[in-house]
C-alpha cells in the first residue's frame, strides 16, 4: 500500500475514534448523569471502584513516598536534608505522584474490569436485552460507573496522599535518621491547601477518564472472547495514556504561572 494512503488511513481512523469517544462521553454525561438514578447500581460501583481499590492505592503510595525520601536524601546535603526531604515528598506526592499513580493503578484494576464486564454483556446481547426491558444502558451501566469513579478517585487519592507522606516519614525518620518532630513540622508548614486541592481535581478527571474508557471499549467490543480481551487491553492502555497526557495538561493549567 502507498505509504501516504496508509498515513491518511491512520489519521482518519484516529480522528473517527476520537469523535466516537467524544459522542460516547456526551451520552454518558447527559443521559448517564440525568435522572432516573439507579442508586443501588451506584453504590455497588462505588464499593467496587473505590473501596476495593484502597489496598492497591495505599501500598503504591506508601512505597512511593518511601522511595522518594531515599532519593531526595541522596541529592541533598546533610544540612538541607531535614527540610528538603519532607518538603519534596509532600509536594511530589500531593501534586503529581499521588493522583497519577492512583489513576494508573485504578485504571489497571477497574478500567480493565469495567471493559471486560460490559464487553461480555455486549457480546452476549445483555446490553440489547436491557434496552428491550425499558432500561437505558447509559443510565443503568455507564452513569453509575462514571459517577462512582469521579467520586472515588479523589477520596482514594486523599487517603493515598496521607499514606504516601507517611511512607516518606517512616523512611526519613527510621532509616535516614531525620528528626521526627522537625519532619512533621516541615511538612505541615510547607504544604498549602492548593497543593492538595489541585491533586484532587486531577484525581476526579482521571476517574472520569478511567470509567469512560472502560465503558466505551466495553460497549464497542465485538467478536466474542478475543474481542472482549482486546477491549480490556484498549481500555487500560488508552486510559493510562490519557491520564498521563491529562496530567501534563492539568499541571500546566494549575501550576503554569
Amino acid at each position: 500500500m502507498n505509504p501516504l494512503a496508509l498515513l491518511g488511513r491512520i489519521v482518519l481512523d484516529f480522528l473517527a475514534e476520537t469523535g466516537r469517544i467524544a459522542l460516547f462521553a456526551r451520552d454518558g454525561l447527559i443521559q448517564g448523569l440525568a435522572p432516573r438514578y439507579y442508586v443501588s447500581q451506584f453504590l455497588l460501583q462505588f464499593w467496587r471502584i473505590g473501596y476495593t481499590s484502597l489496598p492497591v492505592v495505599a501500598l503504591t503510595s506508601f512505597f512511593t513516598g518511601g522511595a522518594l525520601a531515599l532519593q531526595i536524601y541522596q541529592g541533598s546535603s546533610a544540612v538541607t536534608a531535614s527540610t528538603l526531604v519532607p518538603n519534596i515528598v509532600v509536594l511530589g506526592i500531593c501534586r503529581e505522584l499521588g493522583p497519577v499513580l492512583a489513576g494508573l493503578m485504578v485504571s489497571g484494576r477497574v478500567g480493565a474490569a469495567v471493559a471486560a464486564e460490559l464487553g461480555t454483556m455486549r457480546v452476549t446481547e445483555q446490553i440489547d436485552a436491557l434496552v428491550t426491558l425499558s432500561t437505558n444502558p447509559f443510565k443503568y451501566l455507564v452513569g453509575p460507573r462514571i459517577l462512582a469513579s469521579i467520586i472515588s478517585l479523589p477520596l482514594l487519592v486523599a487517603i493515598g496522599d496521607t499514606i504516601g507522606v507517611f511512607g516518606g516519614y517512616v523512611v526519613g525518620t527510621r532509616s535516614l535518621n531525620l528528626n521526627a518532630f522537625a519532619y512533621i513540622n516541615n511538612t505541615v508548614d510547607f504544604l498549602q491547601t492548593s497543593d492538595v486541592i489541585s491533586g484532587l481535581i486531577k484525581a476526579a478527571v482521571f476517574g472520569f477518564i478511567i470509567a469512560l474508557m472502560g465503558c466505551y471499549h466495553g460497549f464497542h467490543s465485538k467478536g466474542g472472547a478475543q474481542g472482549v480481551g482486546r477491549a480490556t487491553t484498549n481500555a487500560v492502555v488508552s486510559s493510562a495514556i490519557l491520564i498521563l497526557a491529562a496530567n501534563f495538561l492539568l499541571t500546566t493549567l494549575l501550576f503554569g504561572n
Binding site: 445483555q126 436485552a129 434496552v131 426491558l133
Partner: protein, 255 residues
C-alpha cells in the same frame, strides 16, 4: 390494519448491504416466522424495529405510527410494548433468575420488588420452572432452562409484541419442542403479535401462522405456514428441504 409494517427498509454496514428494501406486514395477534440462512439480515431487521439499530431509509410502522428515530420517553414507552427472547438467552449473570424475570418490571416500570417477585414466580411457573429455581443464578442452569427463563423474562411485562431470535438454536430436539410448545402457549395466552427468526424448520412449522423467507436482505416469499411446502419458489424449496444444491449458493470453497 397490520400491527407491524415495514416499508422499503434498508440498512448497510460499510460496503455490506444487509437489508435491501424489506417490505413486511404482520397482522395483530399473528405469529410470523422469518426463515433464512445465516447472515441474510434477520437479526438486523429485528434490531431495526426495536430501534437498537437505525435503518438508513424506509418506514417502520407499529400500530400505524412511524417509530424510526424515537427518542427519550417516547422511545421508552415504545420499547415497553415489546418483549424479546435473545438467541443466547442474554440473561444478566450478576442477577438471580427471578431478578432477571422481574427486571423489566422493577427497573423499567418501577414496581415494588415484592410485587415483581410474585409476578416473576408466576411467569416461571408458566414456563414450567418451580419457585426454587428463582433463587439460582443463570450460570447454574442448563441451556434449556436458561431459554425458559429468558422466555419468562420476555413475557413478564405482558408485552403486545414479542420477538424470538432463534429460540431453539443450540437445544436438543426434545427441548426445542418443549420451547416451541411454551412459545405457542405463552403467545396464545397473551394474544401477542410475534415475529420469530429461525432456520429450524420444525420450529417454524410449529409456531408460525405465516412464514416469510428472507434472502440477500429481501423478502422473497411469504404466505401462510401450511402453504410453505407448495410455495413454488425454488429458494424456499431448497431451504425447507435443506439441500446444498439449488439457487442459493453458499460461499464454500470448492475443492
Amino acid at each position: 390494519m397490520a400491527h407491524i409494517t415495514l416499508r422499503n427498509v434498508r440498512k448497510h454496514f460499510g460496503r455490506k448491504h444487509v437489508l435491501n428494501g424489506i417490505d413486511l406486514e404482520v397482522g395483530k395477534g399473528r405469529s410470523l416466522v422469518v426463515i433464512g440462512g445465516s447472515g441474510t439480515g434477520k437479526s438486523v431487521m429485528l434490531k431495526c424495529i426495536l430501534g437498537i439499530l437505525q435503518p438508513d431509509s424506509g418506514e417502520i410502522l407499529v400500530g400505524g405510527e412511524n417509530v424510526v428515530g424515537l427518542k427519550g420517553t417516547a422511545r421508552d414507552e415504545y420499547l415497553a410494548r415489546f418483549g424479546m427472547l435473545f438467541q443466547g438467552s442474554a440473561l444478566f449473570d450478576s442477577l438471580t433468575v427471578w431478578e432477571n424475570v422481574a427486571f423489566g418490571l422493577i427497573q423499567g416500570r418501577g414496581l415494588a420488588r415484592s410485587t415483581a417477585k410474585d409476578t416473576a414466580i408466576e411467569k416461571l411457573a408458566q414456563v414450567g420452572l418451580t419457585s426454587d429455581v428463582g433463587n439460582l443464578y443463570p450460570a447454574e442452569l442448563s441451556g434449556g432452562m436458561q431459554k425458559r427463563v429468558a422466555l419468562a423474562r420476555a413475557i413478564a411485562a405482558d408485552p403486545e409484541i414479542i420477538f424470538f431470535d432463534e429460540p431453539t438454536t443450540g437445544l436438543d430436539p426434545i427441548m426445542a419442542d418443549v420451547i416451541n410448545n411454551l412459545i405457542v402457549d405463552c403467545v396464545k395466552r397473551l394474544g401477542a403479535t410475534t415475529i420469530s427468526i429461525t432456520h429450524d424448520m420444525a420450529s417454524a412449522r410449529k409456531i408460525a401462522d405465516d412464514i416469510a423467507m428472507i434472502y440477500k436482505g429481501e423478502i422473497i416469499w411469504r404466505g401462510e405456514a401450511n402453504k410453505v411446502n407448495s410455495s413454488g419458489n425454488a429458494h424456499v424449496d431448497q431451504f425447507i428441504h435443506g439441500r446444498a444444491e439449488g439457487p442459493i449458493q453458499m460461499d464454500v470453497l470448492k475443492l
